[in-house]
């Protein structure tokens, strides 16, 4: 029996890092546990993106701690305080930074730290600290919901660009930017980020959209795991952007099997990132995907991942219009005829 792993080259590069395959664990709570990170490596992940450090959350938690310690004080002569002194300074990013260090010690694969800042100082400061803690690269998780109607699209875009530039000026390690799909001109935006120095664009962030509880009449946070349908939007945009930006492209969201990985590669992605599939089937499912990937490539006589990367991008397909609006019209009409 032929050992496909010896004949087929799964390796890829991403953010200037050489990866043994394109399978990367995307930023999620799975990576909060060093044991899980280790299991990810054992199951074949070529790199991990750690869970995000949320600057706003750190500040909010500190605010609350301060508020409730204070609200419980000076109430009566007997209970001047209700809490002991904090035994240590509250953790800001320290726990996260320590986690980076631990992960670096635990695994040999690259460890990408993920950051969600709320202030410019926070973005830059934490990015520097993450670099110092040993992160191989950074992923900027720019999770910004512009609810203020006074803020224009240009302002939002400028904010992204400024941030990327500032972080790039601060750190020496590669920087990826994780984006949402909601830009008026994504190609243009990608170009701006490219120019600002982003080493990779990660498409797309999945926003946890609030749901309604109809019995309680409450807005409730909702986490729905992704499915393969979500892949299509990503394939579309990676295929469109491929070749138009210097930055690496990474696909995240909707990768659930080897076929999804193949599609991601063909669209032009350097890596395929996963969380939902692992949450549903367990971390060891990565190993299955890697095997299936080899099998598929063997059956279809592909020699390497690099060979297929971008092979079905907008510039590589015979009808680029398939990626344009006409496609939409056609689908609808074909649907109605069925």
């Amino acid at each position: 029996m032929i050992d496909l792993s010896k004949t087929i080259d799964l390796s890829t590069t991403y953010l200037g890092l050489k990866l043994k395959n394109p399978l990367v664990a995307s930023s999620s709570p799975i990576c909060e546990d060093v044991g899980n990170v280790r299991r990810l490596e054992d199951s074949g992940a070529a790199a991990v993106v750690l869970q995000s450090l949320f600057e706003e959350q750190i500040e909010l938690e500190n605010e609350e701690l301060d508020r409730f310690i204070t609200e419980g004080s000076e109430l009566s002569a007997e209970s001047v305080t209700h809490f002991p002194e904090l035994t240590r300074r509250v953790a800001g990013p320290e726990a996260y930074l320590k986690h980076i260090e631990r992960c670096k010690q635990a695994v040999g694969i690259p460890v990408v730290a993920s950051l969600n800042g709320s202030t410019k100082g926070g973005w830059v400061g934490y990015a520097k600290q993450m670099e110092q803690a040993g992160a191989d690269a950074l992923e900027l998780n720019i999770y910004y919901i512009p609810t203020d109607p006074a803020v224009s699209g240009e302002q939002v875009e400028q904010r992204y660009v400024d941030l990327v530039r500032a972080v790039k000026e601060t750190v020496g390690i590669p920087v990826a930017v994780k984006l949402g799909p909601y830009f008026s001109s994504l190609g243009n935006m990608a170009g701006k980020l490219d120019a600002a120095g982003a080493d990779a664009l990660v498409l797309f962030n999945r926003f946890y959209q609030p749901d309604f509880d109809l019995e309680a009449l409450e807005v409730v946070p909702n986490l729905i795991l992704s499915n393969s349908h979500e892949l299509l939007l990503r394939l579309h945009w990676i295929a469109v952007l491929y070749g138009n930006v210097k930055a690496d492209l990474a696909l995240t969201g909707g990768v659930h099997n080897a076929a999804d990985v193949v599609k991601a590669m063909m669209a032009g992605s350097k890596v395929a990132m996963m969380t939902s599939a692992l949450l549903k089937r367990g971390i060891s499912y990565l190993d299955t995907i890697a095997t299936e990937l080899l099998v598929w490539m063997g059956e279809h006589e592909y020699e390497s991942i690099r060979q297929m990367q971008g092979s079905m991008s907008r510039r590589s397909v015979p009808q680029p219009a398939a990626f344009e609006r006409a496609n939409y019209m056609k689908v609808l009409s074909s649907y109605s005829m069925r």
Binding site: I58, D66, L86, T87, R88, R89, G92
Partner: protein, 1187 residues
Amino acid sequence: MTSSSTATRPKVLIDGNEAAAYVAHQTNEVIAIYPITPSSNMGEWADQWSSEGKTNIWGTVPSVIEMQSEGGAAGAIHGALQAGSLATTFTASQGLLLMLPNMFKIAGELTATVFHIAARAVATHALSIFGDHSDVMAVRAAGYGMLASGSVQEVMDMALIAQAASLESRIPFLHFFDGFRTSHEVAKIEQLTQDDMRAMIEEKLVMAHRARALNPENPVIRGTAQNPDVFFQARETVNPFYLAAPTIVQNAMDRFAEVTGRRYHLFDYVGAPDAERVIVIMGSGAEVAHEAVEALNAAGEKVGLLKVRLFRPFPVETFVAALPASAKSLAILERTKEPGATGEPMYCDVITALVEMGVSKKVIGGRYGLASKEFTPAMVKGVFDELKKAHPKNHFTVGINDDVTHTSLGYDPEYSTEEPGTVRAMFYGLGADGTVGANKNSIKIIGEETDNFAQGYFVYDSKKSGAITVSHLRFGPKPIRSSYLIDKASFVACHQFSFLERIDVLKAAAPGATFLLNSIYGPDEVWDHLPRTVQRQIIGKKLKFYVIDGYEVAKQTGMGGRVNTIMQTCFFAISGVLPREEAIAAIKHSIEKTYGRRGESIVKKNFAAVDAALGNLYEVKVPEAVSSLFDIRPAVPAAAPDFVQKVTAKICAGEGDDLPVSAMPIDGTFPTATAQWEKRNIALEIPVWDEALCIQCGKCVLVCPHSVIRAKVYDAQHLEGAPPTFKAVPARWKDMKDRKYTLQVAPEDCTGCTLCVEFCPVKSKTEVKRRAINMAPQVPLRESEAANWDFFMQIPDTDRKVLSLSQVKDVQLLQPLFEFSGACSGCGETPYVKLMTQLFGDRMLIGNATGCSSIYGGNLPTTPFCVNADGRGPSWSNSLFEDNAEFAFGMRLAADKQNEYARELVWRLNAVIGENLAQALLNAVQKTEQDIFAQRERVQELKQKLAGVNTAEARDLISLADALVKKSIWAVGGDGWAYDIGYGGLDHVLASGRNVNVLVLDTEVYSNTGGQASKATPRGAVAKFAAAGKPVGKKDLALMAISYGSVYVAKVAMGAGDMHTVKAFLEAEAFDGPSLIIAYSHCIAHGYDLTYGMDQQKAAVNSGYWPLFRYNPDLAAQDKNPFQLDSRAPSIPLKDYIYNETRYTMLVKSNPEHATELLHLAESDVASRWKIYEHMAHQPMNGGEKK
């Protein structure tokens, strides 16, 4: 004092408790603690230092362990001492009394130790948390040496001297100082170094102590039982040690002087060498007397003062030798009362000493300062003036007006010895607004940045919601001995504008003083918003007047409602105590120190507040005439009853000191139902009923912690004369459809907690944020809603007899007989207390354990327990912390005995009473409201029948007839009582089989003394004495009680099951035996917005942390499973419940790994407990069905 001896010692600004704890922690190995005000902080410091790894002078970290009571702490210390460790403890008041048996043992065994005591009044006619010497005097027979400190510096010094002397003399010592006045006074002192302590503690004495220990390598037996033949002789063996002790103490003091330069004597004389009149006194009063004596000497008066340091063993010769030979008359001043004695203890000692030494002087004794009553130089002068008289009053009092037995001395209250160079500043703040904390920082800044001496003392009122704090700060170039409140302030700051209308904040302002006001009104408009009294004083005293809109600055800088650092910055700017830039740098440094551990963002926003403050500070140009049309509101309305007008109102207005002895009840008995007269108006927003949305479910009424939301169903005719905005809608009751329903809020009693809004189940169909009850600003509604409330209150209550008490909807219509308490806004305990009074209040006796519930239930000035239209209501008392189950049990014994005797008398007087009535009385079933009502009618008839019968038996029966109506006896208290200090008694009462109902308000922490861990504290929660997260799980008190099989037990959480809670109360009361209800009580000590208190209760139940169940032995008698699990299997992860609370997240933030470990353990606690309960709920019973 040599300069070299002080050069290396740091100057620190600390309070007396910290000073004592510092030395105790440095010079001991084992510390057993238990919280009791005002000594708790000593234990807290020791625990904190040990948890931070601070070592003692031998380089090892002392073991600090919290015990279940002071009795337990004393036992543990006794054991530790016997096993050869250096061991100590801290306590006060009843806590010290609980240690007494061990103290006799420890002394009898000649064991070296020092107990540090923040001396506090022992509860008599009333509890008091404040300072006097009745506790230490009560234990003076135990054989402990007793060393008194009068100032914070002395506390640190004497703590060490006592330690050294005890080791050498082998006599255990009580080192005591005045509770609050010294224990809580912050002062600038010189801190002893480890070298100082090493120099004082002799190694060979430590070795000797250790060598005396029990040790199987060299076994001895101690603690034998002795017979009449030898006990007496053996008891006398200790005499040489007591004879030697005073010299040993003096030697230690001399050695201390060599080391530190501060010289003390067993008795220190201050004053004219040729003084004729001398006061003898100990404690902080000696500092006051010192200040007065110096002033009187300067005025040429031949007076002096003898400060007593060593009170036991009392050195007779030294005492007499310390008196100036010129002294003709002595006044012995004591902070204790010994009723029936020939005099207070020290007076008797002095008389004895003089007689034994053959010295003749005129001696009088008197009492001052009981329970922290103010003691001032004016009173000292009053005593000296009395000594001038040919026949001075003996056994006098000073500082009060005793118009009954006329013991009190007169004095001129205007006499003042305040040093002109001392700055005296007063700050009025709102509890929890950070004013006290900022002032403590200010003192530190002044003390550390300048050469000034500094002193801070902080006064709180007795409410936990809307409390006023008053900070008294002194600083100046001369040492400050003024251990009394400021009454001539050079600076007054009022941090809350609304106080101006409530209290006279400028009463203590000296002429020419500065007044700083936090005001939403600017410098040009503020004047018209000031009450007349305030305007009059600003003009009359020529005050310099500044305003700042601190609220606005706080808002702009992200400080929310916290104005403390803003006002602090203004104080420094106006007072000029430091150059402005220097002051701001120092404030920022102290912010960094105070808030640094809470994170960078907290520090930054405080910095921003400091920077923004001064730009908003304005001086007000004061007009020449008083122009305001309003004044400070009267403390109580004119409609209040006589006692409230004459006594309560004075206390409310802060004038309680002026009440004479004759105004006070003689035995601590007070009328109930007085809280209704104290309209505090503390809510910024109050709930407003939306009658169109309301479904009349009554949940808001149920959860309201302050009983300010009421509902009534009544006939429409009662609406006649209703105020124009009074709301009424048709009642939504099947059988009361034709009647009206009103939900009314008491606008002036509401604390604005919003629990009601959050618990309202109704949401508007067009805008879901709108409920059937919504918050709105109080001020515009105050008058109209107050009128509506008054009108509502005179509508008759709905007849209890027609209501179904197991329905929350019906329970809302029952009058609460507990209202408007001073509990925290949003309190989680009081809804249960209120419910209890709604259901059974008209026939209940309550024994209340000391704690939060006894403070909001029984702290003067007003009483929340009240009466119904018939004048019936709960009768309440607080015995102690540790004995509450037994106390209520005693009430049950009395009620049962009286009932039994009354029934016997009914039998005996059958002929007079008449067969029918007698049988009806004896056979009455009293299970329902109707039954109780009928029995009351019968008792009334009985009394009428017996009224004309002039026999002893008939008179007896009349006096006992009420005992024929069923009484509901309740023991109420917190987890500190039920799980810890009172557990033994509670267990015994539960085992007794007698009908006592126990309500445990489980906040899982000692809330009232400031959040110390109890055995109810859950694993992983941070509390004092568990700063690193409680490592072990919560005790399952319910399961322990269930194990008897004869106790009704329910675990309830109103927020998760309101109907379940009501049912549990009804079943517990109906069960003819002991009942235990453990009620989940959210608490400010849990650290979250209590608006969500009921949601958190739900989360506690849904996570499986707090399963709801009832165990009813009556069901077992019916062959049914007595255990009913009333909540569902856990449906949310534990962390979704606990990580909403600061008590848990503190650990997550400060030590995340340990927090995760404890979380996992806590999760398995929940899982295993659930399994046990589920198993119990599914136990098949004999002949019964398997559930």
